[in-house]
């Protein structure tokens, strides 16, 4: 569906529509998710779906829906849902996985070299229907035949939504979720289940699924000794105060050498000063601010 029934399509070889830029900046300010100029077309299409629903004729009027109308909060969530729709799939963010394998794992192994127990703990916070934690499990199983030999691997996968968790436990996925799977991973870690694909038990066994509300301070306090946290496109729905609380928990949950990954175009700017942004090949992550400097 395109928004053409609502208004003529924008000329994307011209300067960006100022109202679309205002919506982009609003989304960034409120949710921390940024659309560079090259992705404004995508944002426009997503606004278009909402505008059709609301029978809104212009981006300017839609901006008012997002900022001035009594239903602005609901509308913002509806737009964020459109923005993140279809984001859940296996191998969603290859640069993050490459950075994990090529840069972060060696650093974690070095930091833990002298510990008696060789254990890697990763948390997929807001794991939805399970594609992210199972992807991590597959990638780390590959590594366990190489540098992670003799390491124990534990992937905690949590979500608020019971139905999503039930789907994750069932571990059967359709074509859309598995669209980025290479033949190698498809053959090695999946079995056919009718038209769909079933994740093999060897992948599931490292993944510990449970229901956690990230706003539940008591539960959050118990998530300890983590090496890496993935929390992609989850915090965008939180208000600033809740977001700050969750991020502070993440900070406490991570080991001193730990890493926090958000969505590829998601930012903590203005949310927390304790974490530091670091650049990895093709991706960014956050580390604890008091850590020994890295990089040359």
């Amino acid at each position: 569906m395109t928004p053409s029934s609502v208004q003529p399509p924008l000329a994307f070889d011209g300067p960006p529509d100022p109202d679309l830029v205002r919506i982009r900046d609003l989304i960034y300010q409120v949710a921390g998710i940024f659309h560079p100029d090259t992705k404004l077309r995508l944002l426009f299409d997503r606004c278009g779906r909402r505008m059709k629903e609301l029978k809104t004729a212009s981006l300017r009027e839609y901006f008012e829906h997002l900022t001035l109308r009594p239903t602005r909060q609901t509308e913002l969530v509806a737009l964020l849902n459109e923005i993140t729709i279809g984001e859940t799939c296996f191998f969603r963010s290859q640069p993050q996985l490459d950075a994990l394998q090529q840069v972060i794992l060696p650093k974690i192994m070095e930091a833990k070299a002298k510990l008696p127990v060789r254990r890697l703990r990763i948390w997929s916070a807001g794991c939805s229907t399970g594609e992210e934690p199972y992807t991590l499990s597959m990638v780390l199983q590959e590594e366990s035949q190489r540098r992670l030999k003799d390491w124990g691997i534990e992937i905690l996968a949590t979500d608020l939504n019971e139905r999503s968790l039930a789907h994750a436990k069932n571990a059967v996925y359709g074509a859309y979720s598995t669209r980025h799977l290479t033949a190698y991973y498809r053959q090695k870690y999946f079995t056919a289940a009718g038209e769909q694909l079933q994740v093999q038990p060897q992948v599931c066994k490292n993944v510990n699924l449970s229901r956690i509300n990230l706003s539940d301070d008591a539960r959050m306090t118990f998530m300890k000794s983590l090496d890496v946290i993935f929390c992609c496109n989850v915090l965008i729905y939180f208000d600033l105060a809740s977001k700050r609380r969750v991020i502070q928990h993440f900070y406490n949950n991570l080991l001193p050498h730990g890493y926090l990954f958000l969505g590829l175009s998601e930012s903590l700017y203005g949310v927390n000063d304790d974490f530091r942004l670091v650049h990895l090949p093709g991706a960014t992550a956050y580390i604890k601010g008091n850590r020994t400097p890295g990089g040359k």
Partner: protein
């Protein structure tokens, strides 16, 4: 691996070469002319200067019609580009085209397109970055970004095979190119760049950028401009505007010597949204790829 030639060897080879790249004939007088106070500058005169080099003029027009340079309505002549975009922007474009045109026939099997994409990418990031932190001269920042790696051109001209070995080491080990050059060649593109910058008689601040963008802590002057290029260069190398391969490492820009220096000069740097600056870089990438491709593969 080839034994590391000394810097003396580099120097003697450079002096022995007649075809060492020269700064395009139009650009030296143009940049001197632009040192004049703005009110004395004449659009027609600038147009005439660029138009002397027909191929350069044609490429300038092509670039002027790219969204990268802020022009959304097609311009048909150099003069209208200068009127529409401003003198500074058109000079940026002319310099970019001029520099992009310099490449030896033999490159030791390396496709130089990635280097030009990196040069143009760093120039654009420098300009954007300079504006965000209220750095006083974004035009200079653009030029510094564009020229910072001219030493790579020298290495490609003078020692193509040896440079290729350094490049392969960088790519295989995922280490920065200047580190690979150090271990294979015994010097880096900063040193060879400095020789070229001297020969071209670039201004003192640009010579410092070319020489010290990987070792800003060694510089005595123009530390702000060097730092700006150092940080923009790192941002590009960690993204898709790298030297043609991915460096497998972690970079914390706030720990860089350049960050401290630049923050003293531009206090707003402390509050800069690095994440947004990084995401914005994505919007240059496609355009940089296509511009460099069309200009270089002329």
């Amino acid at each position: 691996m080839t034994p590391a030639p000394t810097k003396d060897l580099l120097l003697s080879r450079m002096e022995g070469l007649n075809q060492i790249p020269t700064i395009p004939a139009v650009l030296a007088p143009l940049s001197r002319y632009l040192e004049l106070p703005a009110e004395q500058l004449d659009v027609q005169k600038i147009t005439d200067m660029i138009a002397q080099d027909k191929s350069l003029a044609a490429q300038c027009l092509q670039m002027a019609n790219s969204p990268l340079f802020g022009r959304y309505q097609k311009v048909g002549s150099l003069k209208s580009a200068i009127v529409g975009l401003g003198i500074q922007r058109v000079t940026d474009i002319a310099m970019s085209c001029g520099v992009l045109n310099m490449m030896p026939g033999e490159t030791g099997g390396i496709d130089p397109v990635a280097f030009w994409e990196h040069a143009l990418g760093v120039a654009l990031v420098c300009r954007n970055f300079a504006r965000k932190i209220s750095y006083p001269d974004p035009g200079k920042a653009y030029l510094a970004g564009l020229l910072h790696d001219i030493g790579i051109i020298v290495n490609l001209w003078v020692l193509p095979k040896e440079f290729r070995a350094a490049f392969e080491l960088g790519r295989t080990d995922g280490i920065p190119l200047h580190e690979a050059e150090s271990s294979v060649l015994g010097f880096t593109h900063c040193e060879s760049g400095r020789l070229l910058a001297d020969r071209w008689e670039l201004s003192a601040d640009l010579r410092q950028v070319v020489s010290f963008h990987h070792t800003s802590y060694e510089s005595q002057e123009h530390a702000g401009l060097i730092a700006l290029v150092e940080l923009s260069d790192l941002l590009c190398r960690m993204s898709g505007l790298n030297h043609g391969y991915i460096e497998r490492r972690e970079v914390n820009l706030l720990d860089r010597a350049g960050f401290t220096v630049l923050a003293q000069q531009c206090p707003v740097l402390k509050d800069l949204d690095w994440a947004r600056l990084t995401f914005e870089l994505d919007s240059y990438m496609d355009e940089v790829h296509s511009l460099v491709h069309t200009i270089y593969r002329k």
